[in-house]
């Protein structure tokens, strides 16, 4: 018995000593800049963190396919000044602990110049301190937490801030374009939905838009009947759905099953063909806001969607489109570098990048490292997306 205690005290003593002597050798490098890889590498290597398995596997696969597509295109066109791009995909399973472990690993892998991902805000935010200390850019296509990009200077997101989309949605789509009189809001209870909902209701109050119901639901919900019945009892003429493509389709189907005649608008799904595939004529007339559109009129995006479909076997949503853009963003940043291509130089050039126009529209980072986008209004008509307003609608 006493032995155990002696041992324990000994450990504690040693611990104190060790801690006193200073921290162990593998500290973060004093200057992240000299940790980066050198420019004469044969390839530029990026790590892609995505939920390849687990409950978000659908999005993870979209990430994997879209980023690889972009890399293949760039390499086929001769790479970046003759240097090929190489992507290494890591499966984060949608779990922050996994994602953080991968982050530590890629920080120590000198070949890796930047990180694309992770999908969810929780993961991206768990990675932020590690990647920040390691001086490695985390360029997340989709992390939408309003505080994520500001966590340190290496964090970037191109999802688009909800303090611009949600007010646009409220003022221009719901009030001006749709002329809604009583709006029922249904939003997904995660960081993105919560932030969009807060911004939308704030703007609605300023504009005097009448919101009659605000309901939320947890990710993964499939039964919206009781929620819809509840919203219906408040007699809205328009529903504002703040959710992703799958959920919009589920809600639209269940509205049809209830035999409820109500106009639907959606913030978030973008012009994903998946909505039409899943909900068919139940989404006829649906209005949505989007920074870009995948339609036959937009040839570049349409060709992209075709290619995506053939590789992934399902319709693209907004998520793979933004993931696709991240690779081109990194390419643009590297092209702007004068001297050696290092992790830090990429960060600097991403921050300073100007005039970049990707598949999803123009991207210029603000100081925090995320972006403000401009939005279009689209409508679903005869199973197709039709553009209703242009980017200058807000100025009219």
């Amino acid at each position: 018995m006493k032995k155990t205690f002696t041992v324990l005290t000994a450990i504690l003593l040693v611990l104190v000593l060790l801690a006193g002597c200073g921290s162990p050798a593998p500290e973060e490098p004093a200057d992240p800049a000299d940790n980066g890889a050198t420019g004469d590498a044969e390839t530029y290597k990026f790590a892609v963190l995505a939920p390849i398995t687990g409950n978000y596997a659908e999005y993870g696969k979209g990430f994997e396919v879209a980023t690889q597509m972009a890399a293949d295109e760039i390499n086929d066109a001769g790479g970046i000044d003759g240097v090929m791009i190489e992507l290494e995909v890591f499966d984060s399973q949608g779990e922050p602990t996994e994602s953080a472990d991968i982050s530590r690993r890629v920080v120590e892998d000198d070949e890796i110049l930047a990180v694309i991902g992770d999908f969810s805000s929780s993961n991206a935010m768990a990675n932020a301190p590690i990647l920040g200390d390691g001086g490695l850019v985390q360029l997340s296509p989709t992390a939408s937490h309003p505080d994520y990009a500001g966590m340190n200077e290496y964090m970037f997101s191109i999802m688009g801030r909800q303090d611009s989309e949600a007010p646009f949605f409220s003022t221009h789509l719901l009030q001006r374009f749709k002329q809604a009189e009583a709006v029922g809001v249904i939003y997904i209870n995660n960081d993105w939905g919560e932030s969009a909902h807060a911004n939308l209701t704030r703007q609605a109050e300023i504009d005097g838009l009448n919101i009659v119901a605000e309901e939320n639901y947890v990710e993964g919900e499939r039964d919206f009947n009781s929620l819809l019945t509840k919203v219906r009892s408040t007699n809205p003429d328009t529903l504002a759905l703040i959710m992703h493509a799958n959920d919009v389709a589920l809600v639209a189907n269940q509205i049809a099953q209830m035999d409820w005649d109500v106009d639907i608008t959606a913030l978030g799904p973008g012009t994903s063909m998946q909505i039409i595939e899943l909900a068919g004529e139940n989404v006829e007339g649906l209005l949505l806001s989007t920074p870009f559109h995948i339609t036959e009129e937009n040839e570049e995006a349409w060709a992209w969607a075709e290619e995506f479909r053939s590789r992934a076997n399902f319709e693209p949503t907004v998520h793979p489109a933004v993931a696709y853009d991240t690779v081109y963003l990194l390419k643009a940043a590297i092209e702007n570098i004068d001297g050696e291509v290092t992790r830090d130089a990429i960060r600097q050039e991403l921050q300073d990048l100007e005039g970049f126009v990707g598949l999803t529209g123009p991207i210029t980072f603000n100081e925090a490292g995320d972006i403000t986008r401009l939005y279009l209004i689209m409508r679903i008509e005869d199973g197709r997306f039709v553009q209703e307003t242009d980017f200058d609608y807000i100025d009219q």
Binding site: V7, V14, S23, P26, E98, E194
Partner: protein, 365 residues
């Protein structure tokens, strides 16, 4: 209800039988030898192990490897604390993630809202989790086996949904960010090579304290409840009291692990504490060996190692992992170290192969 007859029905594919038992004996022999050597030079070996563990960061010189070591140590405390409940008192908790959540949120809220330092919060978070454990144990004392299991599962999910919705306190869907890193005599402990010592300290403390508790009157009471609750009661063991204490003790350490977890990641959100997390902890306990002190430690090391090593399998990784779990249950259902009793655990006179018959019967009502 025992179904001994049914065992005879199982077809004996003799070849595989022989192979399996050969492998099993091989394992047993090795474990017995290790155990014998260990028994002979207990103090020296313990010291060497601890010294090696202490200098490990200098040998590894990699935050990545130390990150995995941190994860192993953290899960070994979580799995170990679950094992105290499932393995020693024969109760059946499958919602351990709930206590983990309480610990993490307690630390995060007190640290960010009131600026309290990390070290006292370790104990405070543990205490909070223990209180919750006590509250959960109250209504569940009458329940046994699978009924108890589903209630613990339900509570774990209830706690998570509350954390998701109670925005004013828990940050709701936004989670809690910028949780301050602990400091130690003015030095900030932030990267995994440093944080390793915190997890190591907690893990060693857990093993040492739990080893003593299990040898004490309380521990013997737990084991007697596991072996035969009715008999224990008839011998004058206050089974309700001890089962309650057992839940609180397990919850306490899960809370401590949670408190160490929160500032390690500096950001927590409710989606980190799903039921899958609870199943994950449970798998570690059972793969390692329920009812032994080192079992969960081994389980945690193995599971975390496997998931890391099989990273190259990409999208087949979870398929491989799932298959390994099933194979493990076929090969060594008693767990990796379950064949002999723990080297730390109970008195020699009480050592016997781990049998969970009483726990099984409890569930089968």
């Amino acid at each position: 209800m025992r179904t001994d007859e049914m065992r005879n029905d199982i077809p004996k594919t003799s070849f595989w039988r022989r192979q399996m038992s050969g492998v099993r004996d091989f394992g047993k022999g090795i474990f017995d030898k290790i155990k014998a050597i260990y028994e002979k030079r207990k103090l020296q070996i313990n010291l060497i192990i601890i010294l090696l563990l202490l200098v490990f960061p200098y040998l590894a010189r990699s935050n990545y490897i130390m990150g995995i070591a941190c994860r192993m140590l953290m899960y070994s405390v979580l799995a170990g604390s679950l094992n105290v409940i499932n393995g020693y008192s024969g109760q059946f908790n499958i919602g351990h993630a709930g206590f983990f959540l309480i610990g993490a949120y307690t630390e995060a809220i007190f640290a960010t809202q009131f600026g309290i330092s990390f070290w006292p919060l370790l104990a405070v978070s543990g205490a909070f989790a223990a209180i919750v454990g006590f509250l959960i144990s109250l209504p569940t004392l009458r329940l046994r086996g699978i009924y108890l299991a589903i209630v613990t599962l339900g509570f774990s999910e209830i706690l998570r949904v509350i954390a998701l919705n109670w925005s004013s306190v828990t940050g709701g869907a936004m989670g809690i960010k910028s949780i301050p890193s602990p400091t130690f005599f003015g030095m900030t402990i932030s990267n995994s090579s440093n944080y390793y010592y915190i997890f190591l300290f907690i893990a060693i403390l857990f093993l040492a304290v739990t080893g003593r508790v299990l040898k004490s009157r309380v521990g013997r009471a737990w084991i007697s409840i596991r072996e035969d609750e009715a008999a224990a009661r008839s011998l004058g063991v206050e089974t309700r009291f001890y089962k309650s204490i057992n839940f609180m003790y397990g919850a306490f350490w899960a809370g401590v692990a949670g408190a160490a977890f929160a500032p390690y990641y500096r950001f927590i959100a409710s989606d980190m504490f799903t039921l899958d997390e609870g199943f994950n902890i449970l798998s570690m306990v059972i793969i390692g060996g329920q009812g032994t002190l080192v079992g969960p430690l081994v389980g945690s090391i193995i599971v975390n190692l496997i998931t890391e090593v099989f990273r190259f399998a990409a999208r087949y990784r979870m398929v491989v992992y799932a298959t390994l779990i099933i194979v493990m249950m076929w090969w060594r259902p008693q767990g990796l170290v379950g064949a002999y009793d723990s080297v730390f655990a109970i008195k020699k006179s009480q050592r016997k192969p781990v049998r969970m018959a009483s726990a099984k019967e409890a569930g089968e009502e």
